[in-house]
């Protein structure tokens, strides 16, 4: 099984990386660039775990719920 995990900073949390990239894109001739937010994408090969266990690890280790949200997609 393959687990694909996307971790993004919460909307309410300042993302200075996103702001810097947005500004750089505008300087590169794309004045229409709006909000940019930068997160992480993880691909995990795993056997013998169920979705509940994976959600647990997403919440406890792979993301920090104080500042981040995660999405989990499972592929057979």
């Amino acid at each position: 099984m393959k687990a694909k995990v996307t971790v993004m900073p919460k909307k309410t949390v300042l993302d200075p990386q996103g702001v810097a990239v947005r500004d750089a894109m505008r300087h590169h001739g794309l004045p229409g660039v709006g909000n940019v937010r930068i997160g992480k994408f993880m691909e995990i090969e795993v056997e013998g775990a169920d979705e509940a266990q994976l959600r647990e690890i997403c919440k406890d280790l792979l993301s920090n719920p104080v500042i981040e949200d995660y999405e989990l997609h499972l592929e057979a």
Binding site: P9, T12, V13, L14, P16, Q17, A20, L61, L62, N64, V66, I67
Partner: protein, 255 residues
């Protein structure tokens, strides 16, 4: 009284902490490797600064799962004092032993400079003491006292939801705030974008303290400041009282 300085792979302020506790405060200090199962025998636990596990995933996120951290949490629940400096603060937040989180500095720069941190609460175990400087002058805790200490971090911007911030303020759990040299709390004096200039907080019970400035790098006139001694003197006196130690704990006077 026995003090543990926990070492994670990537800790790099462990020796500074050890030096200060051993040589400036004449304490019985031991390094404790993160694989150790117990810190039960210690009266004070220090989580030093550094880059535990290379800051992979998030600062402190992996160190939080080190075997020793289970025991650190247990001992904190028993009321032992825990001091987390810089990466130690990040680890305590990741371990949910302190609220909030430390995220990338607003400027994106790694900031390495001396700052002023204003003492907001002198009722805590970490900020109440009086300590003698090398020149014989006394540094006495008072609300509004400015401590000049270095910071050195890329991820030191304290963030928490509004409810948590309200609770920290209501319960007077903000111990230090970044200020200018006159003690004014302003955005200009905020080196990393921390919410409300927060530089250090305690947990609800008041026995776990995390701060981004480095008091261990501010304990010798050769380093430009001795103000960090106030933090160590406070925590050592508090831990000594908890340990029921009758031996005098305090700074070694003279050279």
């Amino acid at each position: 009284m026995k003090v543990a300085v926990i070492r994670f792979p990537g800790s790099n302020c462990d020796q500074d902490c050890y030096h200060v506790l051993k040589h400036d405060f004449a304490l019985d200090v031991e390094y404790v490797w993160h694989k150790e199962a117990s810190v039960e025998q210690f009266d004070l636990i220090v989580l030093p600064g550094g880059f535990s596990y290379g800051d992979y995933l998030r600062c402190g996120a992996i160190a939080r799962y080190s075997p020793v951290m289970r025991s650190v949490a247990t001992e904190a629940q028993r009321g032992k004092l825990v001091l987390g400096i810089c990466n130690g603060f990040q680890i305590l937040c990741e371990a949910r032993m302190l609220p909030g989180a430390l995220i990338r500095n607003r400027s994106l720069h790694f900031v390495c400079e001396h700052v002023h941190a204003r003492v907001e609460n002198i009722e805590t175990a970490f900020s109440h003491a009086e300590v003698a400087m090398t020149n014989g002058k006394l540094l006495t805790a008072r609300t509004g006292l400015l401590l000049r200490m270095p910071i050195a971090h890329g991820e030191g911007s304290f963030t928490a939801d509004p409810e948590t911030l309200r609770e920290l303020n209501r319960a007077n759990r903000v111990v230090l705030r970044y200020s200018d040299r006159r003690g004014a709390i302003s955005d200009d004096a905020n080196p990393n974008g921390s919410a409300e200039n927060i530089a250090g907080i305690v947990n609800e019970r008041g026995n776990v303290f995390g701060l981004m400035p480095h008091p261990e790098r501010a304990c010798d006139p050769l380093l430009g400041s001795e103000d960090g001694k106030l933090i160590f003197q406070s925590v050592i006196e508090s831990a000594g009282r908890k340990a029921g130690s009758r031996s005098s704990v305090g700074i070694r006077t003279g050279l």
